[in-house]
């Protein structure tokens, strides 16, 4: 009988001691911070477009002989942005011959973006042209993919030979 009483006392003391020990701990608040850098970039799925061999007077579209040309734009700046196209020179051919740049045409076929795209076929022009204007969901860091197709109208009086043109795509946050 006496043994049982003593046992109870010992246990009760231990519990009290444990409680005192816990009271000495403090959980500190930890503030984790991170700076998310600006992302604003433009990538192309390929840097060449090959129309192949064309007869004078023919119109050739790249698709379906080649897949659509995909442009990927990423912005997390939460600002409107613009995808533009420009062509610094005419379509240069052999012996100083050239074709007018407006013979080369483009069209947005598809985009997953929420912005405003040019509709229908557009001819390349001397001035820079806005291809796509971002929408409200397009500057939150997700990829905006834009698929284009191209066509080339070869004049009937085009001299034979190899022709090239450089297309420059630019994204900016100002028009």
């Amino acid at each position: 009988m006496i043994k049982k009483v003593s046992l109870v006392i010992v246990v009760g003391f231990f519990v009290t001691f444990s409680g005192l020990y816990a009271a000495e701990q403090r959980i500190q608040d930890v503030i984790a911070s991170v700076v998310v850098g600006s992302t604003f970039k433009l990538t192309l799925d390929r840097a060449t477009l090959d129309f192949g061999s064309i007869k004078p007077g023919e119109r050739v579209e790249l698709y379906p002989a080649e897949p659509f040309h995909q442009i990927t734009c990423i912005s997390n700046n939460k600002k409107n942005w613009y995808l533009k196209i420009s062509v610094p020179a005419d379509i240069n051919g052999p012996g100083g011959q050239s074709l007018p740049k407006d013979r080369l045409k483009w069209q947005i076929f598809w985009t997953n973006g929420s912005g405003v795209k040019k509709e229908g076929w557009e001819s390349l022009q001397d001035k820079t042209t806005v291809v796509y204007t971002s929408g409200p969901l397009d500057s939150q860091g997700d990829e905006v993919n834009i698929k284009l197709r191209y066509a080339l109208d070869v004049p009937g009086n085009a001299p034979a030979g190899h022709y090239t043109a450089v297309l420059i795509y630019t994204i900016t946050e100002s028009l």
Partner: protein
């Protein structure tokens, strides 16, 4: 409290970074195409491409002659008559090989193959070659058989040689119009020049193919 202040400062710095470097990115793509060479002869007017031309009597190049007695001095194809304003055929010379002006001078030759003796078959060159792309006769420097009647040989004979103005003739082509005739007697003199000096055609059936060849790099 210190930690909170640090976080605010970091955000301000990040914002300044974006402002200082206006966002822009650029990528280029090169588009290329090869325009194939065109070097071709065609009868004028071409179906679909050219408007019909009522001045060309045999637009497909198939012409026939009536039965002759042998007494005629000159026999025109069926339906044709002297000075009727028509041409038997039109020929278009199409070339877009303008990138090498020296090597791509071209000529058109003609010859006949069949059982009509050369002295009994003649061609009339109606006029200068006509570059339809520049809407005027343009034969400057070109070499050709002169306007008038010529005997059609069985060996290639020069019909036309392009000059530098005719290296690029697409899409409408350089046009020559020609007419043909049978000389039953085998003898034809134009002015003072005797063009044909052969024999009279014997009774029988005759036919000939007239072959035009366009050659470059000459």
């Amino acid at each position: 409290m210190k930690k909170l202040i640090l976080v605010v400062l970091a955000l301000v710095v990040a914002g300044m970074f974006n402002y200082a470097f206006a966002a822009s990115d650029t990528a280029t793509v090169t588009a290329s195409a090869t325009i194939s060479p065109m070097f071709d002869l065609a009868f004028y007017p071409r179906p679909v491409i050219d408007d019909p031309d009522g001045n060309i009597f045999f637009p497909t190049g198939a012409l026939s002659f009536p039965t002759i007695t042998g007494a005629e001095s000159m026999v025109y194809p069926t339906g044709r008559a002297a000075s009727d304003g028509f041409s038997d055929i039109g020929l278009l010379f199409l070339s877009n090989q303008a990138n090498n002006v020296t090597a791509n001078n071209w000529v058109v030759r003609m010859r006949q193959s069949g059982n009509i003796p050369p002295d009994n078959l003649v061609v009339y060159v109606n006029g200068e070659a006509y570059n339809r792309n520049i809407a005027k006769p343009n034969d400057i420097g070109g070499v050709k058989q002169g306007v008038g009647w010529h005997k059609i040989e069985t060996a290639d004979m020069l019909l036309y040689k392009a000059d530098l103005n005719h290296l690029l003739t697409t899409p409408w082509g350089t046009l020559m119009t020609l007419s043909f005739a049978i000389i039953p007697s085998g003898k034809l003199t134009v002015g003072t020049v005797q063009i044909c000096n052969g024999s009279a055609l014997a009774a029988g059936s005759y036919n000939a193919s007239i072959i035009f060849t366009m050659v470059n790099g000459v």
